[in-house]
């Protein structure tokens, strides 16, 4: 059973066709990386999976159930969590309130909460302060913590390292490794080093089309392919 399977997804936004026959498979467990330049369609892919956009054609299967066309909240309840690029923190709410909303019934599992506090100690410190006052890195931690306070099968994370200090990026990488032990992560990244340290399989998206899929190690060694697809060298 795969965590996620996209097949021939076409997504249109307004008059524009943003995704063309996007297909890839995210196996259960570990970190799957979706790479691509700005505007390639990474975020649209995640938003389509999450149900914010309904694909015009194609299927999205989450653990063998079709989820395309379902309401976002239903997809979320099935066990998919979303960490958007802007983190989607409720700034007027406290850290605690942000976390409560992410639980299914407003109750914390104390063991799980302790585990999260171990991963991100800052959240414990600022538990009762308004989330709007947190630093960028702390907000990112809160966004990830919200996604894992309930056990989830799949977490979609959009560019978590964007604009973060290197020390925080390292902490984030450690946390992701820890989370990925029992959860599948679909990670959208531009920071290839970060992605390489975590990921096992990957896909590259370009102009709304999947142009490459394979293992991240093979990709890392093929500098010619990297330059061609991402215009970056490692």
């Amino acid at each position: 059973m795969n965590a996620l399977e996209l097949n021939g997804i076409e997504t249109r936004i307004g008059r524009y066709n943003v995704l063309h026959e996007v297909s890839f498979t995210v196996p259960e467990g570990g970190v799957f990386v979706l790479l691509g330049r700005n505007g390639a369609g990474k975020t649209t892919t995640l938003r389509t999976i999450m149900g914010f956009w309904t694909p015009h054609a194609g299927s999205v299967r989450f653990r063998d159930t079709e989820i395309s066309g379902l309401h976002t909240s239903v997809i979320a309840r099935k066990g998919v969590a979303f960490v958007p690029e802007d983190m989607g923190i409720f700034r007027a709410l406290t850290v605690a309130e942000n976390m409560t909303l992410a639980t299914a019934r407003g109750q914390f599992d104390s063991a799980r909460l302790d585990w999260i506090f171990d991963l991100f100690p800052a959240l414990k410190t600022f538990w009762n302060t308004a989330a709007g006052g947190l630093s960028g890195g702390q907000k990112q931690m809160l966004a990830v913590a919200r996604a894992i306070i309930e056990p989830r099968a799949l977490i979609l994370i959009d560019e978590p390292t964007k604009g973060l200090a290197p020390a925080i990026v390292d902490a984030m990488a450690e946390a992701f490794q820890e989370i990925a032990r029992d959860t599948t992560i679909l990670l959208v990244e531009q920071n290839f080093e970060f992605a390489r340290a975590l990921g096992r399989d990957m896909a590259v998206i370009e102009d709304g089309r999947i142009v490459h899929t394979g293992s991240i190690e093979a990709f890392a060694e093929d500098t010619e392919l990297q330059t061609r697809l991402l215009s970056l060298s490692v």
Binding site: F52, A81, F82, P84, G106
Partner: protein, 327 residues
């Protein structure tokens, strides 16, 4: 100006500042106190009528130009109920008085809830995310509701009976305060407190506040904001109906154009207060109520224009109002 205010506390102090300035201008403490209570009473009723509009806009980005029709509806329903309860209203027993009044307000609120539900389903739902059509269609709905009130209650102004225990005034020395105003303030404070607790102490309230800020993220956490919204819409309509019912008793004479008339003041309130937060709405409502009464005493002809000047000044200073919700 910003920094000075922040040092003193914040924009919440503005009504107090206003009251102090008015005290200097009016001179007579007894007149000032009477006007201040009248202003607070009017402010609390305006708060009831405006809070729903503000929350609905905050949560769904829907501006309902027909909102004040619910105030009108509430006023007429309450007046009708009161007219049928004249026995209880005129009774010596304040318990029966209060029961009649509560029944009138209760029926108005019920009509507000039902009306709100139908309004959201029929009028608003088809035009989400389309501001232009929203404005047009809710104005159409305002006209239709107003005309239906004409058809049902006739065009001539309607007398509204006040319960016996709210007639007359308290007199302390040379200060005289209408009992009804005190009742309006008490009821307004209770509703505000209840709303505040609902929004800040319950999970539903948490969801509403989160939804105002970022609707998509609330859905990504597994909640249907659409269902939440219809609840908020019904609540907002019911509050407007309650405000209208109170307003009817305050004015004691109501006409079907009440909704269109109140719309302007209600808009000024939410523009001043900022959209999406009940704290902002309360602030805006109190300021409008106080200014209206102070200026009405000092320069009777300038009362409505004064609200406009207030709105302009606030817009120049803070284009999004005093306390808009975080967006």
């Amino acid at each position: 100006m910003n920094q000075t205010l922040n040092r003193l506390g914040n924009v919440n102090l503005l009504p107090l500042v206003l009251a102090l300035i008015a005290f200097g201008l009016i001179g007579s403490p007894s007149v000032w106190l009477t006007l201040t209570i009248a202003g607070l009473a009017m402010g609390m009723m305006l708060f009831l009528m405006a809070s729903g509009l503000s929350l609905v806009f905050g949560l769904m980005d829907v501006l309902n130009f027909g909102h004040s029709a619910f105030a009108s509806l509430g006023a007429f329903v309450a007046a009708t109920v009161l007219a049928h309860m004249s026995g209880w209203l005129g009774s010596e027993s304040w318990v029966l008085n209060l029961a009649a009044l509560m029944l009138a307000i209760g029926v108005a609120v019920l009509f507000g809830l039902i009306g709100g539900f139908l309004f959201e389903r029929i009028i608003i739902r088809p035009v989400y995310r389309d501001h232009l059509r929203q404005i047009l269609i809710t104005i159409g709905a305002l006209i239709v509701i107003e005309q239906l009130i004409f058809v049902i209650w006739g065009g001539s102004p309607l007398n509204v009976a006040r319960p016996r225990f709210l007639q007359g005034s308290f007199v302390w020395g040379n200060v005289s305060i209408e009992t009804y105003r005190i009742f309006a303030v008490v009821l307004g404070v209770m509703v505000y407190a209840a709303l505040y607790l609902l929004l800040n102490r319950t999970r539903v309230g948490l969801l509403v506040r989160a939804g105002v800020e970022n609707r998509e993220m609330v859905e990504a956490l597994g909640f249907r904001v659409g269902r939440l919204f219809i609840g908020v819409f019904m609540l907002g309509s019911a509050l407007a109906a309650m405000g209208g019912a109170m307003w009817a008793g305050y004015q004691q004479l109501i006409s079907p154009t009440l909704g269109a008339q109140m719309m302007i003041v209600v808009f000024i309130v939410v523009i001043i207060g900022g959209l999406g937060s009940i704290e902002g709405t309360l602030l805006g409502a109190l300021m409008v109520g106080l200014i209206d009464n102070y200026v009405g005493f000092l320069m009777p002809k300038a009362a409505l224009a004064s609200n406009m000047v207030l709105m302009m000044v606030i817009l120049m200073w803070r284009p999004n109002g005093l306390r808009p919700a975080v967006k």
